[in-house]
């Protein structure tokens, strides 16, 4: 991640209305790719994946009148970098009523970067149940994968340098909708 002081070069990648259009598009793509989102569960990865999953479900409902179950899957206890940082507080895990067994689970996160979060999420899913298939939806794919993982639904591909950092803000968690790219000048 980039150093926080480098806000000399802040670029807005998605404005609020861009972000809404992107969520709308992903909702349409989910409907298309899952032939009407039947047997589908959206699981957001805390923190910002959870409101994103809720928004996708709300848009899917608005477009087709289908209620897609939404939940949250905290992956903190499955991270492979726990020992590299101070202890992290846990997020909430809330599975929708019918569980995930035999269903198509779509994991939702804000930024896809190294892929390690998604790996942890796959491990966590494994302990929670056995979905029939797992897909991944992300708002931003910034590249630099360290694991063989790709997203099924991508809001925006942003080529980044490792020194840059992508900041997603959502009204639910941060007060406004915006995606920013900061840093990158690397001294």
């Amino acid at each position: 991640m980039a150093s926080p002081r480098a806000d000399t070069s802040t670029k807005i990648i998605l404005t609020g209305s861009d972000l809404h259009r992107v969520v709308d598009r992903i909702a349409h793509q989910i409907l298309e790719k899952t032939s009407g989102a039947t047997g589908t569960v959206l699981l957001g990865i805390p923190t910002r994946g959870v409101p994103l999953a809720q928004r996708l479900a709300a848009r899917i409902h608005a477009f087709e009148g289908i209620d897609v179950p939404v939940g949250a899957l905290d992956i903190t206890l499955y991270r492979d970098d726990l020992r590299l940082h101070a202890t992290r507080a846990l997020g909430k895990t809330e599975l929708p009523g019918g569980g995930i067994d035999g269903r198509r689970v779509i994991l939702v996160d804000d930024v896809l970067f190294s892929g390690r979060t998604v790996r942890a999420a796959l491990d966590a899913l494994n302990d929670v149940g056995r979905p029939s298939s797992v897909q991944l939806a992300v708002l931003v794919d910034r590249g630099h994968r360290e694991l063989p993982i790709r997203a099924d639904y991508v809001g925006k591909n942003i080529p980044t340098a490792l020194t840059e950092s992508v900041r997603v803000s959502l009204t639910e968690t941060d007060g406004s909708d915006e995606v920013k790219l900061t840093g990158g000048d690397d001294k």
């Binding site: 202890t87 895990t93 491990d123 929670v128």
Partner: protein
């Protein structure tokens, strides 16, 4: 995050709340088909038990195993301790084996503090003498919060042998940190002298001069709902960390306003020491029977850290009633200890 959990006083309100929140997440995981988490894989937790214990040892073992830590159980019986090995030498052995955390129960107050200076890993106090038992306080606080929704402003009576109770001591420290109001209830002989002296100079009559004379202090106040603010006296008690701990010698008078009643075990091994005239008299004055339970407000809960003496400090009907959280406390113990192990061992060493 703190490194050791030796005393409930190690925890400030933010850290304690973090532990309780984490415990809530851990409790949610307990309902899953696969209860095991990979979080502490490759870490070693040693349960070092110099005193007998059922639920605490099993609870720590279950907590560590659910987080995938390797668990080594050590009990003084059948170890080199019976050949005369000292705590220090045992500690050095554990150190050499690379224990990441040592959970210690010892009959000597302060043993965990000494141990922490000999080993590199985290030390978790699982009960030391008559001193402290912080994880019990955490699971009690967690139980109260999950039953009653809050801790701030909660009125909690801790009843019985407060003097010898490490559970009471840790609970007072933790619960006052979290904003609960504690009333200690018991015969004057079983309430620590320092707190009785620090409290209520008027009702306890000349507290300073009576310091150390527990009987006189007791007699004067016997039967009085002695409760006053220790801040009046301006003398901080070693036992009460905040100005909201009260003392009463009359159980019946405090029950109607309590949200929580925590009954302590009468430590029968101390019965010969004439702290009270007879078990029967103790039970009649300070035992929680059905009639007394009816005096509690509708929502109030009854707690007991176990092991209980049914019919002594708590009537069987009360222990098995829906107000009793005794079995819940055991289940919550695993979640609370998982939270402690995760927060102490989960991050960067």
């Amino acid at each position: 995050m703190i490194k050791h959990l030796r005393s409930a006083a190690d925890l400030d309100a933010a850290t304690a709340t973090l532990i309780l929140d984490t415990a809530a997440e851990m409790a949610a995981l307990a309902g899953r088909e696969v209860k095991k988490l990979p979080t502490l894989r490759g870490r070693t937790v040693v349960n070092l038990f110099y005193e007998d214990s059922t639920r605490t040892r099993i609870s720590f073992e279950a907590a560590a195993k659910r987080l995938s830590a390797d668990v080594i159980n050590f009990s003084a019986k059948g170890s080199s301790v019976s050949k005369g090995e000292s705590l220090k030498d045992t500690a050095l052995t554990l150190q050499a084996m690379g224990a990441d955390a040592v959970v210690i129960r010892h009959s000597a107050s302060g043993a965990p503090h000494r141990l922490a200076s000999w080993v590199d890993g985290s030390v978790i106090n699982a009960g030391d003498g008559t001193h402290e038992h912080p994880t019990q306080a955490l699971l009690d606080a967690y139980t109260m919060r999950s039953r009653l929704g809050r801790l701030d402003g909660l009125k909690v009576a801790i009843v019985g042998d407060v003097l010898h109770s490490r559970v009471a001591r840790s609970n007072v420290l933790l619960l006052t940190t979290l904003g609960a109001e504690i009333t200690l209830v018991g015969p004057p002989t079983l309430i620590p002298v320092d707190i009785a002296a620090a409290l209520s100079p008027t009702e306890l009559a000349g507290s300073a001069s009576l310091r150390g004379d527990r009987l006189v202090t007791g007699e004067k106040a016997l039967g009085l709902p002695a409760s006053a603010n220790p801040a009046d006296d301006g003398k901080p008690s070693a036992f009460s960390p905040a100005a909201i701990t009260k003392v009463s010698y009359d159980l019946d008078s405090v029950l109607p306003v309590m949200d929580v009643v925590m009954m302590l075990r009468v430590q029968t091994e101390r019965m010969q020491d004439s702290y009270f005239p007879s078990a029967r008299e103790y039970s009649r004055r300070y035992g929680l029977d059905v009639a007394r339970m009816r005096k509690l407000p509708e929502h109030a809960i009854v707690m007991h850290p176990g092991p209980m003496n049914r019919g002594m400090e708590i009537a069987p009907e009360v222990a098995d009633s829906s107000r009793s959280t005794i079995v819940e406390q055991v289940a919550n113990g695993v979640s609370a200890r998982m939270a402690v192990l995760y927060l102490l061992l989960g991050g960067k060493a």
